[in-house]
Symmetry: C2
Subunit: 413 residues, 2 copies
């Protein structure tokens, strides 16, 4: 089974927003064993929507649209589909009642513009949208199912789970497409390729390898290209020799992030971490606390951006700051040790660096970063030179700080 994803909105075509919806939809469809033929984004124009329908209907089993279902005048998807399918708008009473109750519960007046959101093309099957005001719709033509969802991400996600996926599972027998992903850190893509060439060349036909580099890490994704040819377990077996070749550079498998891997390690061991952040400015703490349940491994942390804050909060001696500068080994070592005590943690992680674009010197150019990890068993510190802009340097520092923490936890277990 194959599907096209079409996202509608001028805001996507002018780059004002990044289209995260289509990535979510692709992920969910793939997990359900549905291959994506292609994804495309078009503007809020009747002609573009019609051309997209004409190009996809009959060539793919399903088309998933998002966007252009709001109440405002630039939202034209519903009216365009209504005329494309030569239908007429009729009131969908369950949606109308739900909206009426919603507005009443918030003491807001239920205006005609909101009421009209309950009007849908007569030929469609409605998917009730419990998280917003625009209902989802399903059409069918020439063997293609056409699904329409709002562009607001959490509404779209709700409709995927409550409407689209159950419908597809009912209509199609879906064999899962098997994937297995091995997560590596610290080896550039081309080096990695040479290291695993022999293994890659020996992969069975029907198993495809992709290198997915991002911010200092490379994911190696194996896909059983013909549905049902290899199970996930078999792909996992096929990947096993990589552990012998790459060793410690493999930090996990699947869709996990480095932070999630570290969170699991801490939780399993009943350990806590705290952060003393300078150049990362709160990003380390944010990435951990974005994980549900993080309070089990985290009491708190501190961002010390100025000399004064480093001295007062983390007892970095003013003389050390004067002599070595904030971006230096003795400073991060003191920060890591002090924050561990401050928040009663087992591990303290400290970062100090020059994220850029300003602040570099010949001696310490932009991208120079010191990271330290401290525990009762001792402290490790390392200097990095990252090549990026501010955002990239913050992300690379974060990845490497968590990786140093991961190695320290494993070395002490």
């Amino acid at each position: 089974m194959r599907a096209d994803i079409i996202t509608i909105g001028d805001e996507i075509l002018i780059g004002q927003i990044t289209d995260t919806n289509s990535a979510y939809i692709a992920r969910e469809l793939n997990a359900a064993g549905i291959r994506i033929r292609r994804k495309f984004s078009i503007g809020d124009q009747k002609e573009a929507i019609i051309a997209a329908l004409d190009e996809s209907i009959g060539k793919t089993d399903a088309i998933l649209f998002t966007g252009g279902l709001g109440p405002t005048n630039d939202d034209i998807t519903k009216h365009t589909l209504n005329s494309y399918f030569a239908s007429r708008l009729v009131r969908h009473q369950p949606t109308f009642d739900m909206l009426a109750a919603w507005f009443e519960s918030r003491n807001r007046s239920f205006e005609p513009v909101n009421q009209s959101q309950a009007d849908v093309p007569e030929v469609c099957t409605v998917m009730l949208n419990k998280l917003g005001t625009a209902p989802g719709m399903i059409f069918e033509k020439d063997g293609t199912f056409i699904f329409c969802m709002p562009g607001v991400p959490y509404e779209m996600e709700g409709l995927m789970q409550s409407g689209v996926l159950p419908f597809l599972r009912q209509k199609f027998a879906l064999p899962p497409l098997a994937h297995h992903t091995v997560l590596t850190v610290g080896i550039p893509e081309s080096t990695l390729m040479m290291q695993i060439k022999q293994w890659e060349d020996a992969l069975p036909a029907g198993v495809k390898l992709a290198y997915l580099p991002s911010y200092g890490a490379v994911k190696l994704r194996l896909t059983a290209w013909e549905p049902g040819a290899y199970s996930e377990e078999e792909l996992c077996q096929i990947a096993r020799p990589l552990y012998g070749i790459l060793g410690d550079a493999i930090f996990g498998t699947g869709d996990k992030t480095m932070e999630e891997v570290v969170f699991d390690l801490l939780r399993e061991r009943g350990r806590r971490v705290s952060f003393a952040e300078s150049c990362t400015g709160g990003f380390l703490a944010h990435r951990l606390t974005a994980i549900a349940g993080s309070s089990a491994v985290f009491n708190g942390s501190v961002v010390t951006y100025s000399y004064d804050a480093k001295t007062r909060e983390l007892q970095v001696p003013a003389a050390v700051l004067e002599q070595h500068g904030a971006v230096s080994e003795p400073v991060v070592i003191q920060m890591a040790g002090a924050v561990k005590e401050k928040f009663d943690a087992h591990y303290g992680v400290a970062t100090s660096g020059i994220a850029g674009p300003d602040g570099g010197t010949p001696d310490k150019p932009v991208g120079t970063v010191w990271i330290a990890v401290s525990s009762a068993e001792g402290t490790v510190a390392r200097r990095f030179h990252f090549p990026g802009n501010r955002e990239r340097n913050i992300r690379l520092t974060c990845l490497n700080a968590y990786n140093m923490l991961r190695r320290k936890i494993l070395s002490e277990s």
Copy 2:
């Protein structure tokens, strides 16, 4: 002038990565006065790339490809284009020399797999890629220019600036497409629409309004749809009545984020802010420190996730925590005041809430958040009920915390 954007990569079609490249390219092309006809994403398959070329060549002035130019076996874009244009690969000496020097400077051996990255189709014009190993390429067919760039975002961005945009400016006379965006916060899209309906109905022909909702904010984007019809200044004039209608709900214009607006307000006034974060877990500090130059307005901040951390770091009395719970007015008021003193700031901002998915109670369901902002002139605190999942609740808390800070700064100026 019109362009198509095509991103290549199985990782996009299975949703393993979000395609941020096409948003960047769209933004840059729009700023240069180039309209995007459509964007699409296809897999790493020869047939898909050829079908995309066939569909776009002759129908659009430019096609911008990204992805599939790496050294590994799943990177097939260059070879596919080489055969599509019936060309042959030849060595591009400047790229070869640059790569040789790069490998030498890092004491890494310059292997054939890396050397082959300097081979390009003879018919193309090379764009030197100073930030990576895969050169950019320009082809021409039937009045369409075809640009190929690597998928690594910062390499692609470098080639857009050094190669693609200068080439397009030279080949085409580009009138800028005018945009003006007004940023609003706190008013739902449908309410906003009713409030500004009269103004919207009176917009001149050729000026289009789009509502771009995201995480509690709505951007109102005016576009002069015919290039050259209205200047940005004229659009700005057209938007002026919105200030009378929406007042304080407008927090800025253009592409700024709420944090950037607040950063500017603080910097202009020589003021500093600090954060005492519970449910936002470092996200407030991260968003501010992601801005270059933030050290002018920020000494540091603290994340206090446990009762103990709140008591020790911010002197929240244990009795108050026991009686009212961490998610309460007296707790955030104490946190905001204490963090302001702790980091010698003019403003202290505190958050405490239940981000979810667990931790809710009938009395304080998931999404309940208290925010306080403190200054020498007093403290304001407010309770919110956000409707989202963990990520959304963290983002909505962040937006509203910065908005409360913005209002407090403006009320004191």
